[in-house]
Every structure is written in structure tokens, then in C-alpha cells.
């Protein structure tokens, strides 16, 4: 068994055919107008690549056994599970949380003043 320099037998296209990424970007509408025109010209003369494009059409690119809605829900839950703890906590700062403690010495002083004033009346 050998591994040829041009890696024939491991790529869906022929030598000189556009890459898998170019075809995927074409189907997803990511290619520029110029690249799209070049690809269309290639497709006109290449049956292999026309077939590769057909494999990517929604009708023929069904993913076996995969429940898409279930999978998307699972992905979203796992992504959110990480996002939530990473978000800044909305809890109040220590100062705001314990500000009421500052009132204790104030009330204690007022109480002492009240007791002192009653006794010396």
C-alpha cells in the first residue's frame, strides 16, 4: 500500500477541482461575486463537482439518525451552562450589603444620650 504524492483517493474532487470549503462557502452564500462566477464556470464543465454540490443541497444532505431540534436544545443548554457563571454577578457590593450595620453605633449613641438626659433631668 502506498500514499501517493497527490493523495489521490482521499479527496472527493479531481486535481484542480475546488476544495470542499469553497463548495461549502458557495452553498452558504459566503463566496464573493467573482469567486462565485469562477466556480459557476468550473461547474459548467465538471460533472464531479456538480455532483459534489448536489450532495450539499438540503434535500440530499440529511443527517442520519440526528434529531436536529433535540441536538440544538442540548447544545444551547451546554453553552448556557458555561455562560451563566461567567457573567458578572448582580449581587450588591459588600458595603451596600452591610450598610445597615453602620446604624448600630448611631442608635447606641442616641440611646445612651436618651438615658443620660432622663437621669439628669
Amino acid at each position: 500500500m502506498s500514499f501517493p504524492d497527490d493523495a489521490g483517493g482521499t479527496f472527493e474532487g479531481r486535481l484542480g477541482c475546488p476544495s470542499e470549503l469553497v463548495l461549502d462557502r458557495f452553498v452558504s452564500g459566503e463566496l464573493s461575486e467573482r469567486s462565485t462566477a469562477e466556480l459557476r464556470a468550473h461547474l459548467d464543465g465538471c460533472e464531479v463537482c456538480r455532483r459534489r454540490i448536489e450532495q450539499r443541497r438540503p434535500a440530499s444532505s440529511s443527517v442520519p439518525k440526528m434529531n436536529r431540534a433535540e441536538m440544538l436544545a442540548s447544545i444551547a443548554a451546554r453553552v448556557s451552562a458555561v455562560d451563566l457563571p461567567a457573567e458578572p454577578s448582580p449581587s450588591p457590593s459588600l458595603l451596600r450589603r452591610y450598610a445597615w450595620l453602620l446604624l448600630i453605633p448611631l442608635f447606641a449613641a442616641l440611646g445612651a444620650l436618651l438615658v443620660w438626659s432622663v437621669r439628669h433631668r
Partner: protein, 181 residues
């Protein structure tokens, strides 16, 4: 239909998943060789992609997902190779496919034991059919680096095949035992 974008957020997950999950599944199936592994991989790849969605800098969601898919699947291949559970199956997606199962199984084995950066370049060039310039863009390295990595992968592949043939002649099995069920 999705056009090139400069930024994505978690809110884009449903739209991007709907548009690109067949592509991710197809690429994972090609690399891993098993439908159930490819399904698991598709889910894991979208989780990883959208946990780090802030790192997407555009313009192509397809190229971004290709990189994540390649890295994740190579990691799975290396793990399977270490556990000696590399799948020996390869089912062409259609009867007229130009891909030869024996070549694909051999390449999968070589990818599982090659250096990571050599394997990444080999996937782009040998499986995805990218030019060195296109692979350089996807991998974020120079065109020259891609050429260097591909040459080194080829030399590594030839050495592995030669040594494996020598050892096989002596009755020693040098390649990891592969899953055949």
C-alpha cells in the same frame, strides 16, 4: 442563506446550527469514519464553537467551523489510536465517490499518529483539497509553512508505511490494532 459576517454571538446559534450542521457532520464523518462518532462530534463541535464565540473574527463561519472540526476530530483520532480503537470502516457517501476506502483508512491511521500541526495541514490539503494558500488562510499560518508541513507529513507517511512493511515481513504488527466490528 448566510452571508459572510464579522461577528457572532450565542443568539446566532440556532441560525448557524441550521445552516452549517450538515457541513460539520459531513466533515466529521469523513475524518472519523463512523456515523455515531460524527453525530457526537457535531454536537461537541458546536458546543465548543459557541462557548468561544467571542473569538470568531469573521468573515467566514464555514472556515471557522472547519478549523474547530479538524482540531476536534484529530484529537478524537489520536485518542482512538492510543486506545487502539481506530475505526477501520469507511463508507463512501455515494457509490460514484472518487474517495478510495483503503486510502482513507490508511490516511486516518497516519493522522492519528502524526504531529498535530502536520496532521492539520494534511487534512486541509489531502482530504479537503485546499490549495496551500487556502490552507494557510484557514490554519492562520504562512503558505510556506503549509508547504513545509505537507512535505514533512508525506515523508513521515512514507517512513511509517515502509517500516510497517518491514516489520510485517518479520511477523511483527507495528500499526495499532484497529476496530473491525
Amino acid at each position: 442563506m448566510t452571508t459572510a459576517v464579522s461577528k457572532l454571538s450565542v443568539d446566532d446559534l440556532p441560525r448557524i446550527f441550521e445552516e452549517y450542521h450538515p457541513m460539520v457532520y459531513r466533515r466529521a464523518l469523513r475524518l472519523l469514519g463512523s456515523a455515531s462518532d460524527a453525530e457526537d462530534a457535531t454536537q461537541e463541535i458546536f458546543v465548543r464553537a459557541f462557548r468561544a464565540v467571542d473569538r470568531f473574527a469573521g468573515p467566514s463561519p464555514a472556515a471557522w467551523l472547519y478549523t474547530i472540526t479538524t482540531n476536534y476530530c484529530l484529537s478524537r483520532l489520536r485518542d482512538a489510536g492510543r486506545r487502539r480503537e481506530l475505526d477501520e470502516q469507511y463508507e463512501p457517501e455515494e457509490p460514484e465517490s472518487l474517495v478510495q476506502p483503503s486510502q482513507m483508512i490508511l490516511l486516518r491511521h497516519l493522522l492519528s499518529i502524526a504531529d498535530e500541526e502536520l496532521a492539520q495541514a494534511a487534512v486541509c490539503v489531502y482530504i479537503e483539497g485546499m490549495s496551500h494558500a487556502e490552507a494557510a488562510e484557514v490554519l492562520g499560518v504562512s503558505k510556506r509553512t503549509v508547504g513545509n508541513h505537507v512535505d514533512r507529513f508525506l515523508a513521515f507517511a512514507k517512513a511509517q508505511i515502509a517500516s510497517s512493511a518491514e516489520l510485517a515481513a518479520k511477523g511483527v504488527q507495528s500499526l495499532p490494532r484497529r476496530r473491525t466490528e
